[in-house]
Amino acid sequence: MADFRMPSLGADMEAGTLIKWLKQAGETVKRSDIIAEVDTDKGAIEIEVFEDGVIEEIVAQPGEKVPVGRTLARIRTAGIAPAPAPAPPREAAQVTAATAAGAPAGEPGPPSPRRAGAPPPAHVAASPAARRRATELGLDLRSIAGTGPHGAITLADVEGTAAAAAAPAPAPARQQAMRRAIASAMAKSKREIPHAYVTTTIDMFRAMAWLRAENERRSVGDRLLPAVLLLKAVATAVPDVPEVNGYWLEDRLQPTSTVHLGTAIALRGGGLISPAIHDVGQRDLGALMRGLADLVARARSGALRGSELTDATITVTNLGDQGVDGVLPIIYPPQVAIVGFGRIVERPWVVDGRIEPRPVLNASLSFDHRAVDGHRAGLFLASVDRRLQAPGVL
C-alpha cells in the first residue's frame, strides 16, 4: 500500500486545499495519471500519482486544507490484495479528516469537512434535506452556519458551504497569497544562498538571421520565438559545467543528470511562476516551442501539474520583452543557478576591426557559490554563447 500525499510544490509551500478528485476509490491509476486538483498560493495545480495501482481509500475530501506530506489517498499497488471492507461508522470515526491524517493532538485547526459516510450528529438543528445532503457531501453539520429558524441549517446552507469549500480563492486573496509566497521564497534564498554573478554580452547576429530564415519557411502556428533558442542553448551547455544543474540539499550539491528547465512566467495581473519544461536538451526546437507555448498557456489559466512545479533543476528568466538590458535574478532554492536574459537589441559591435550594428543580448548567471565557482560559472556562459553562434545545430 502506498500513501498518496500532499506534495510540496515549492520551498515556500506549507499546505494546499484539495479542490477535487479526478479519480475515485476503486479506480485503477497509472504512474503520472492526474488524479486530483489542489489549490495553492500559486493557483490550481493538477497532481499526478507516482505508482501504478488501485485507489483503495480516499482520505482527504474536497475543501480540506491539507499540510504538505499528509496523506490524501491510499493506493493499493500491484500485487497487494484489497483491504477488507471498512467497519460500520463508529463515533471514533467522526474525527475530522485532518486529525485522522495525523494532526498533532490538541492542535486547533480550521473547520474541516467530515469524511464521507460519517453520519452527522443528531443534536445540530438541521432540516432533513440538509442532513441528507451533508451526509452525501461528507460535510460536518457543526461546521455550517445555519440561516433557518432558530439557526437551523437549511439545504441552501449546506450547498453554499460545499461550494465555498471547493471554490478556489478569489483573485485578490490569491494575489496576496502569491505575493507572500514569492516574498518568503526570495527572502529565504537571499538569506541562505551566497549568491554570486557573472555576465556577458552575446552577439545574436547568427542566431537571429537563422531564426528569420527558419520562420520564413514555417507556417504562422509553427514559428519559433528567440526564447526557444535561449532555452536550448542553456540546456545543452549544462553538460559542460554540470554543477549548475541540481540542488543544494543536506549541505552538499546533489547534481542531476537530466535538465528540466524552470521557466519564469509572468502572470497577467501580477505574480510569477516558474514551472519546468522537462528534458529540454532532448527536444528539437519545434517541440520545445510547443512545450513552451503550452506551459505558458497552462500557467496563466491555472492548469499546471505538480511535477512541473517541483522538477526544475535550473531556471531561466527572460525579461527581454520588458525592454530591460539585463537581469541578475535570485536563485530558486534548492536549485543552485538561474540564467537571466535581457532584450535583444541592436548595438555597435566590433567585427573584424570594423564597427557594425549587431543584435546583442546580455546574459547573466546567478549561482550558489557553495556549489559553483566563478571560473566555472564563466565557462558556462561562454558555452551558452558558443551554442548561440551555431543555431543550426541547436
Binding site: G221, L225, R268, D321
Partner: protein
C-alpha cells in the same frame, strides 16, 4: 467580410491573450504590446488568432504593421483584398 467583422476578429484575438481587453475601449493607434502588456508569446498567439480567423498568411516581417488596432485592421483588409 465587413470592416465590422474584421474589427470583431481583431478584438477577439486580442481578448484571447489579454482577457481584460474584452470589456475595454481600444484606442485605434495605441501600441497593443505596450498598452496591454503583451509579451512575445502573447503577440505570436494574437497573430495566430488573426491567421486562423481570416486565413491570411502573416509573414514575420509584417508583424510591426499589426502593432495597433488600426494597423491590424488595415493590414487584414489589404491582404484580404489581394487574395
Amino acid at each position: 467580410m465587413t470592416e465590422q467583422d474584421l474589427r470583431a476578429i481583431v478584438r477577439q484575438a486580442l481578448a484571447k491573450v489579454a482577457p481584460e481587453t474584452a470589456a475595454m475601449e481600444i484606442e485605434a493607434d495605441g501600441p497593443l504590446r505596450e498598452e496591454y502588456d503583451l509579451d512575445s508569446m502573447d503577440f505570436l498567439n494574437f497573430i495566430i488568432g488573426l491567421h486562423k480567423a481570416t486565413g491570411v498568411e502573416i509573414p514575420e516581417t509584417d508583424y510591426p504593421r499589426l502593432g495597433t488596432l488600426a494597423g491590424a485592421l488595415a493590414y487584414l483588409e489589404e491582404r484580404r483584398g489581394q487574395a
